[in-house]
Subunit: 372 residues, 2 copies
């Protein structure tokens, strides 16, 4: 089962609040998905994720395929059981990692041949295989194998990748339908086309015609200026079917999420909250804090007095700074927990503002606070 | 306030069960204290420690003195508040770390001069200073500054260290009494004397005459053969006042703890459960498990089916092995939690066996299981 319904639409923007029902439960949208690359959101337990209000996780097909292998996970009851996460999971297709992480990737019509970044072993990934792996993992939402390009890139390369992405999407869709599992697992198509408005428009239209469970914008936040990213999202999101969830992949900072919600996006994932936490950067209602800063040496207050996460309720900045400077494992955990809570809570409050018809005010307040 | 009472004594051995009341609550003895070196038991939260049944933590004076400094911790409300641990804390004196970790340590009658292992800065530690630092940290149980020697060492060196330890103990005791806090904070004396029975005897007798809140055996597990360690403990423990808690410092494996309980020890600390966990070694009722072993690749069962810890209740060996091989932060946390639970639970069950008058059977069963 997979169902998406819009519950409220903002009058002053394209923002919308919805509900996405999956085989492992309902996700209230807009929603932020923390990244659980290798079957774990780095440093956090599933209990802590639930405590942060996380509704859905993202898993990385590329990593899990290489280690421990999707067959092992399938035999052990699927990814949900393997990592003890009972709620929805969306998996990417591996398309992005194959070109960004793997070595010696060769792309043909058939698929991608590449060498593992772990042991150099050669592997192949095709649209069909990407779907099969995600089915073996037991993912609730599968992503089509796509062909992202970096920025900048020649128009011809962007166009070729966009066309290939479409043909691969057709093959993914066929394999998904043939699996007999299309009723319980969703499959999202991914729009490519770089920052070229015409290519994005064509990609969106052609994918929409294939009737996927949902649609994603891929190939953003790959080095292009922020304005181009937002311009592309603004031009493309309205072209996607209104009654399907819209997922902007791999973006971004808190303010980017609010901007994209404004443009009608429903789902997000990004490594920023987790990765930056491990580098001592905390997101707060007043902006970001760098833990190593000497100003926090004796600070008895929490990172964010307005935050209700278990880190802010228990610990001082002085303690967190001490743990971080001492390279204590607990440091990465407490900062990650705070940042994940911050992201999830920001998007949750944005949703509530949409439901109350006050999203514009909410966004203004967000910016005003950070100017203090 | 500090009070120790014996509740039950084993008929067939010197094992005893007791209660130790401190300013931050009661500790049922025998008890195992996980090591929280830098204001955290590596990777675990205080909630998890409580969940493991931990009653009391050990903090390292040397580390906290160097970073973040005891004055900062005092200003922020003491170590309990700093690390959000509301239960009892015992701090060592730094005597062991100064000779094992610090650089260029020079020992004189006055105290120790050394350079920090972190930044090379020169520091001094005297018996009085060691007490002052521990008072500033807000420790419930303070340890006297002692002078441990390695193994083997010339008798003259062992004897000199034993005598110096005694003179330092007198100075620690005076500083503690003068602080006006002796009513609420306990001070333990540390018996030295290497593996020399006569020196240990004299050390124990002279310290007992000074009337400390409790007594510890120091300078064990410093490289001597296991038999010598047990022989020394067997010879020394009975010489310590029966009505005071007896703490064997820095020992050891699960079987060593049971042996020492047999000899009348009440308190233990050791880095084995936490350090070995970070190296992928798990303690179980059947012996130890090395996570990297290929045998666990597809093992759907938990590390120890008899264990009730949250790791064993949730995760398969296959998942833990995957996390460990992937160097995921969650690996160190889940293994540490299990090992701490194992140690604390073993000692708790030993106590219950003493109370039931079945300690010998309990010990036999422990060994029988590991032979399976």
């Amino acid at each position: 089962m997979f169902r998406f319904e819009r519950i409220a639409c903002d009058a002053a923007s394209k923002a919308r609040a919805g509900r996405m029902a999956t085989a492992h439960g309902v996700v209230a949208t807009p929603a932020f998905m923390p990244v659980g690359t290798q079957g774990t959101v780095k440093s956090l337990s599933p209990d802590e994720l639930e405590g942060c209000g996380v509704q859905i996780l993202l898993g990385n097909t590329y990593h899990l395929f290489l280690r421990p292998g999707e067959e092992l996970i399938r035999r052990l009851g699927g990814l949900h059981r393997f990592m003890h996460w009972p709620r929805p999971i969306l998996t990417d297709s591996g398309g992005f990692q194959v070109v960004s992480l793997a070595r010696l990737a060769t792309v043909t019509e058939e698929g991608v041949r590449f060498r593992s970044h772990i042991d150099g072993a050669e592997h192949r990934l095709s649209p069909e295989r990407a779907v099969e792996i995600q089915l073996a993992l037991g993912s609730d939402i599968l992503m089509c194998l796509d062909r992202p390009v970096g920025w900048p890139a020649p128009r011809a390369e962007i166009e070729a990748a966009e066309r290939l992405t479409l043909r691969w999407a057709e093959r993914c869709r066929r394999r998904w339908e043939d699996s007999g599992l299309a009723g319980s697992r969703a499959l999202f198509g991914i729009v490519q086309g770089g920052v070229d408005a015409a290519l994005r428009r064509r990609s969106a239209a052609d994918l929409a015609a294939l009737d996927f469970s949902g649609y994603a914008l891929g190939g953003l936040s790959v080095g292009e200026p922020l304005e181009l990213m937002l311009q592309t999202a603004a031009g493309t999101l309205p072209l996607l079917p209104e009654d399907k969830p819209r997922y902007v992949m791999g973006v971004g900072r808190p303010e980017d999420l609010l901007d994209l919600i404004c443009l009608g996006a429903d789902l997000f994932d990004c490594v920023l909250p987790t990765r930056n936490a491990r580098h001592g950067q905390l997101f707060t209602s007043r902006g970001t804090i760098q833990l190593t800063h000497a100003a926090w040496r004796e600070e008895a207050g929490p990172p964010d007095p307005e935050c209700g996460c278990s880190t802010c309720r228990r610990y001082s900045l002085a303690y967190l700074r001490h743990l971080f400077l001492s390279r204590e494992l607990l440091a990465y955990r407490l900062t990650t927990l705070h940042n994940v809570h911050y992201y999830v809570d920001l998007v949750r409050r944005a949703r509530e503002a949409i439901l109350r018809g006050e999203f514009a005010e909410f966004r203004n307040r967000f910016y005003r606070r950070r100017e203090i």
